[in-house]
Symmetry: C3
Subunit: 168 residues, 3 copies
């Protein structure tokens, strides 16, 4: 139906803003979580995010097969995908062909019938990272963000908790 | 009276723009400096910033107790706080409870009667830092920026010396 | 004639957008490349960029003496400079006085008679880098970007392949 893409840095209020956008629509809402708790720091972040959400939210875990999860959604239920950065991390660590999978995911997001709000990180505005894996991740994230932004009806860039309209 | 929040990256012209905003108001102006010269590089930056300011500026150092400094200000004198990133660095290195202190500082900024321009860095738009302290700082800075932006009447994001209006 | 400055992060679609801006004008177009292939990763990026361009493009390499290359241009031919970040890297690694050269380059860009589109990276929105050279580069890049943005008629900040108008 409509695809809103919420981009921003760490602690920029992306998730909160995306949740508010979904909650403007009629419940129930589906939350597609891509987080995998690799360590205690991650587990804490996941718990914090979950504790913030009300009971009208139905959570679905899709740390790897996000495109399939999207394909199985009912058309009338608003969906939040949080977030593409964790999905990309999971796929890269699993040794996947992230270029091909990113293109497939962008297509799946564009084809989805449900009202969608998708969260992702902008990670390319610092100095070039020292290690090659970080550089590869930065490139892959930037390309994925461009592909999703192209499909999106609305693109929002978060600055200090405030939305800046980039598209739509 | 009014709170303007000027956010941006390193060398984005934040301080200069913030000074110009204050200098549009009637002097004398108060400059609250949060810098502590931990090394020669910092000392040089502080000296450079000071040398740029005219004599209508009265400088007040508050590298740690910024909330108290704000509480003691006269209501009719424009104030520049430069910057929250150095304050947060100082407090974190001192082992403070930065979450609690950030909330208290945001409240103090919101309650301040003087016309205020506050400078801070956006630090969350690069790749996830390798070390845990840098990640903690990045999170704390992002949360502080969100809290101050919420209180602010006007929020400006600097890009290459140019202001982008985010709020107000 | 007119100077457009396209700023953005890694993989933000800067080069593609800048090329599209130039290709709206009548050909032939001049592409001033500042890349030096220090390693295989760079060589691959350069080849990728070149393969994207049509034959109406005439390429000119100026990894170091960019100001001289600009001075020798005909006034009626649109020019793309891609990018200032690689130029700055080359000059810094060569031990140049980058502050002086940045000022001279900004002046040369401002004085150029040809319609110009100039690409550069924003690198200051992450956490402070660990090593001193990266910090010096970040500062030099920020200052150069400010100088060019001041001369520019139009400044564009790219987010996920989408242009945000900052000036003009």
């Amino acid at each position: 139906m409509s695809l809103t893409f919420v981009l921003g840095g760490a602690r920029s209020g992306k998730s909160r803003h995306a949740e508010e956008l979904v909650e403007r629509l009629a419940p129930p809402w589906t939350y597609i979580a891509t987080a995998e708790a690799h360590d205690a720091e991650m587990a804490e972040r996941i718990a914090l995010h979950r504790s913030r959400r009300a009971e009208d939210w139905h959570t679905l875990d899709a740390p790897h097969d996000l495109a399939t999860a999207l394909a199985g959604l009912p058309a009338d239920r608003p969906v939040l995908v949080d977030c593409l950065t964790l999905w990309l991390t999971n796929r890269m660590l699993a040794g996947a062909d992230v270029a091909a999978e990113s293109a497939a995911l962008a297509a799946a997001l564009g084809a989805c019938k449900a009202p969608l709000v998708v969260v992702s990180n902008e990670v390319g505005l610092g100095i070039v990272p020292d290690n090659a894996l970080a550089r590869r991740f930065r490139d892959a994230q930037g390309r994925l963000n461009q592909m999703v932004a192209e499909k999106a009806d609305r693109v929002i860039f978060m600055v200090a908790g405030l939305p800046m309209r980039v598209k739509g």
